[in-house]
C-alpha cells in the first residue's frame, strides 16, 4: 500500500529547536514509516520577507527526490500571486499553501480571490492550514486564528477550486460537513485529529473514505501520532489506501491537458 504525506515541511520553525528538518531527515523518517513521498512545503517561506526565496531553497533541497513541492505564497504582498506561474515553470509545484493567520489578511480579501483565480487557471490545488501550532501556546507570536466560519464561507465561494484543509480539529471538520458532502474536490488531512478517539473510523463513516488524506505536519508534530490513527483504524484496507495515497493523488491531478501557464 503506497503511503504519501500531504502535509510535511522542511526548514526551520523559529520558535523551537525541534521544529526543523531537512529533506534528507524527512526522507529518513518517512522511509522508516513506509512513506514513499509527499507534498513538502517550506517553513522558512512563511517567515521570509520574500517567500519565494524560501521556495528556491526548498527546490534545491528536494532535488533528486520524489517529493512534490508545495509553494508558500503571501497573496497580500505585491507580486505575490504572480510568483505562482514562476513556481510552476521553475519548480513544477504541486500546489500552493497560504497562511492568512500569519500574514495578516482575511480569506475574503480581494488578494485571495486573485490567488484563487490564478490557481484555477493553473489547475493547482490550494493547501489551507487552519493552524500550525496550538493557539494557546506561543508567547512570542500570536497568529490570528482562522475561524471555521471564515473558511466555510471561503470554500463556498470557490467551489470549483480543489482545496486540502490542513490541521482541522475533529469538530472543525464536522462544521465543514456541508461543504465536504456537497463537492468532490475538498479534502482534509489528519494532522489536527488530536481530540477524541477513533476519529478515522468516525470520519470515514460520516463522510466516506474519499475525503481524508494522510498528513503529519512533520516536523512540528510527531509523524507517528497521525500514522497510528490510520494504521490501527478499523476500516477496510481499500479505505486506508485512499487515505494514504489515492485521495491525495486525486487532489493533485491537474485537469486534462493543463500545462503550466506563465506570465
Amino acid at each position: 500500500m503506497e503511503r504519501m504525506d500531504a502535509n510535511c515541511l522542511v526548514g526551520s520553525w523559529p520558535f523551537r529547536k525541534a521544529g526543523r528538518s531537512t529533506a534528507a531527515e524527512l526522507r529518513k523518517i518517512h522511509g522508516e514509516n513506509g512513506i514513499r513521498c509527499g507534498c513538502v512545503a517550506s517553513l522558512n517561506s512563511i517567515f521570509y520577507s520574500d517567500p519565494f526565496e524560501g521556495e528556491e531553497e526548498l527546490h534545491e533541497d528536494l532535488k533528486g527526490t520524489e517529493y512534490r513541492q508545495v509553494m508558500t505564497v503571501n497573496p497580500a504582498l505585491p507580486g505575490g500571486t504572480g510568483d505562482i506561474a514562476e513556481g510552476v515553470r521553475r519548480f513544477g509545484i504541486a500546489g500552493v499553501r497560504i497562511y492568512p493567520g500569519y500574514h495578516r489578511y482575511a480569506l475574503g480579501d480581494p488578494c485571495v480571490a486573485a490567488l484563487c483565480a490564478e490557481l484555477k487557471k493553473q489547475g493547482l490545488p490550494l493547501f489551507l492550514p487552519l493552524r500550525m501550532e496550538d493557539e494557546r501556546l506561543n508567547y512570542l507570536a500570536a497568529p490570528r486564528p482562522l475561524p471555521v466560519r471564515e473558511v466555510e464561507s471561503f470554500l463556498s465561494e470557490h467551489r470549483d477550486l480543489t482545496a486540502v484543509v490542513l490541521g482541522a480539529r475533529p469538530h472543525e471538520i464536522e462544521s465543514l460537513g456541508g461543504e465536504l458532502r456537497s463537492r468532490p474536490n475538498l479534502y482534509f488531512d489528519l494532522s489536527g485529529l488530536k481530540d477524541g478517539q477513533f476519529n478515522v473510523e468516525r470520519l470515514v463513516g460520516e463522510f466516506g473514505d474519499g475525503k481524508l488524506v494522510y498528513g503529519s505536519l512533520y516536523p512540528l508534530y510527531c509523524l507517528k501520532s497521525s500514522l497510528l490513527q490510520v494504521e490501527t483504524a478499523e476500516i477496510p484496507d481499500r479505505s486506508k489506501e485512499r487515505i494514504f495515497s489515492g485521495n491525495l493523488l486525486s487532489a493533485l491531478a491537474r485537469p486534462e491537458g493543463r500545462t503550466a501557464v506563465s506570465g
Binding site: A18, E135, R136, N138, K194, Q197, L223, S225
Partner: protein, 256 residues
Amino acid sequence: MLIDVHAHLWKGRYEDDKKTILRLAEKYHVDRFYISSLGSLYPDREEIEELNGETRAFMKEEPGLVSGYCYVNPALESSLDTLRRGIEDGGMSGMKLWVATFCDDPRVYPLAEQCIRYGVPILVHAFYKAVHQLEFESLGENVARLAARYPEAKIIMAHLGADCYTQLKPVRNLKNVSADISGSLYRRGEVDYAVKTLGARRVLFGSDAPEANFLVNRGQVEESGLTAEEKALVFGGNAARLFGRSRPAAQGGGKE
C-alpha cells in the same frame, strides 16, 4: 507495560466514557488507567461526591484495569474528609487537583500533608495558556512552590504544564515532581525536552482520554529519541514505582 496515569470520566458521560476507556484498554493493550472524574470548574460538595462516586463505581467494575484519583476542591471545608473517605474507604490511589484553587493555595496544605501520610501521589493540573488562562489554573511555579514546601509529597505535574519549554524549569530541581505528557498539544520534541530537563525517571505516560487522543500521546513517546529502556520507564515503569505506596527520595539535586 503500559500505564496511563491521566484519564477521565466526565460528568454526565459515565457510560460513554467508560466504554471508550475499556475499548482503548483492549485495543492498545493498556495495563492500567488512573482515572479521575471531573465536571464543573468550581464544584460544590454534592458534585464532588457524585464524581468520586463514579470513579469508585468504575474501579469496582474493573478492578484489574482501573485505579482512581480522589478529586477534591480545596476551597470546600469538606475536602479533607472527602480525601480520607476516597483513600481509606474507597481504595483510591491518589489525589486530583484541578482548577478550583491554585495547587499552592494554603488550603491545599492539609490535603498535601495527608497525601504524604498515605504515601499517594498528587496529580496537579498545570496548564500554561497564552490566551484564556483560567483564574486559578496552576503553572509550573505553583507546582514548584507546593513541591518545595512538601519535599516528601509525590507530585505529578500534568500535561508537562502545557508548554514544557517554559513550565518545566521551575520544577526541574525538585525531585519529588514528575510530569505526565497527557494533553492536547502534542508538539514533536516535547518528550525529548522533558526527559532532557527532568530525567527519564520523572516523565510519565498519560493520555487525558477520552477527550484527548490516546494514540497521539503514544506516538509522541514512540517517535522520541529515547532509548528502549527510557521508553519503558515512561510507558509504565515510572508509574509502577510512583504508585507503590512508599515515600519519595528527599528533595535535592537535579535530574536523575
